[in-house]
């Protein structure tokens, strides 16, 4: 189970949920909250990039693929080009290998199909040594 200490300094894990669907955002924020993760929301890729430009940092970014203004592929490329080293997990309904690979190639650390569950998030956090 996730702890609220994300690092040796004892600070909470922070996450950014990037999705233009309100239902998805509500569910993902709720499940992150239940795992003790402090979460923020961006409703498209540009908002996510702008948040980082303003100096915000997150341990984990859950990035939807299909969004208006700036999609997840463009946003991920942009964030990596800016030097953002957060764990970025692509979250989408796409299941075709080629499409998933295209998203992964933009700079993702992992890809999960919607809907996310607590166990999927915990497995992501385990990979980055945030939980036991």
């Amino acid at each position: 189970m996730a702890t609220s200490n994300g690092s040796s300094t004892g600070t909470k894990i922070t996450a950014l949920v990037v999705d233009d669907d309100r239902v998805i955002n509500a569910i993902h924020c709720k499940l992150l909250n239940k795992l003790g993760i402090e979460n923020h929301v961006a409703t498209n890729g540009k908002e996510a990039v702008d948040l980082h430009c303003s100096g915000k940092k997150f341990d984990l970014i859950l990035m939807d693929r299909d969004m208006p203004i700036m999609n997840g592929i463009e946003a991920t490329r942009e964030l990596r080009a800016m030097g953002v080293r957060s764990i970025i997990v692509g979250v989408s309904t796409r299941s075709i290998k080629q499409e998933i690979q295209e998203f992964m190639d933009s700079g993702l650390d992992d890809y999960q199909e919607k809907p996310l569950t607590s166990s999927k998030v915990i497995s992501i956090l385990r990979k980055i040594d945030f939980v036991d």
């Binding site: 239902v23 509500a26 569910i27």
Partner: protein, 146 residues
């Protein structure tokens, strides 16, 4: 949870959603675990949000499909939106019809896509009619604050 007639009605109604394949038992059970004292209206709000947003997505899909030429980018985006949010709340039949429409649309058969959209609209209307009643009953079943 109290075992009043209203709660019993709610249980029966919820079970009928599962039996009719309108809602996925596992996904709804999972969503219920996310509800807590700090946000006791989480499920009702989620269902209400889904009904509003899915209606909007379906309207956009219809307009995009009726446009000349068909607005492919709007279709793609709205179909993926609807697929994702319906899966997330466990709206199985809507998710199924959305996937059918996606497949037909990707096959390039616009007339079949229009027919598939009508099926999706019927499923959505049926689901909405029942879920609105369920949400109303959920609200009534909540203990009074005073």
């Amino acid at each position: 949870m109290a075992n009043t007639p209203l709660h019993q009605q709610l249980s029966i109604m919820k079970q009928s959603f599962f039996d009719e394949g309108l809602l996925d038992h596992e996904q709804v059970s999972y969503l219920e675990t996310l509800e807590n004292e700090d946000d006791p209206d989480f499920i009702e709000n989620l269902f209400t949000m889904f009904l509003r947003d899915s209606s909007r997505y379906i309207d956009s899909i219809e307009k995009a499909l009726e446009a000349t030429p068909v607005d492919y980018s709007v279709m793609e985006r709205m179909l993926y939106q609807l697929k994702g949010s319906s899966a997330s709340i466990g709206a199985s039949k809507i998710n199924g019809e959305t996937n059918t429409l996606r497949k037909v649309f990707h096959d390039g058969d616009i007339e079949s896509a229009k027919a598939s959209l009508q099926k999706l609209k019927e499923e959505h209307a049926n689901f909405k009619e029942k879920l609105v009643i369920y949400v109303r009953m959920l609200k009534e079943a909540k203990p009074s604050e005073y």
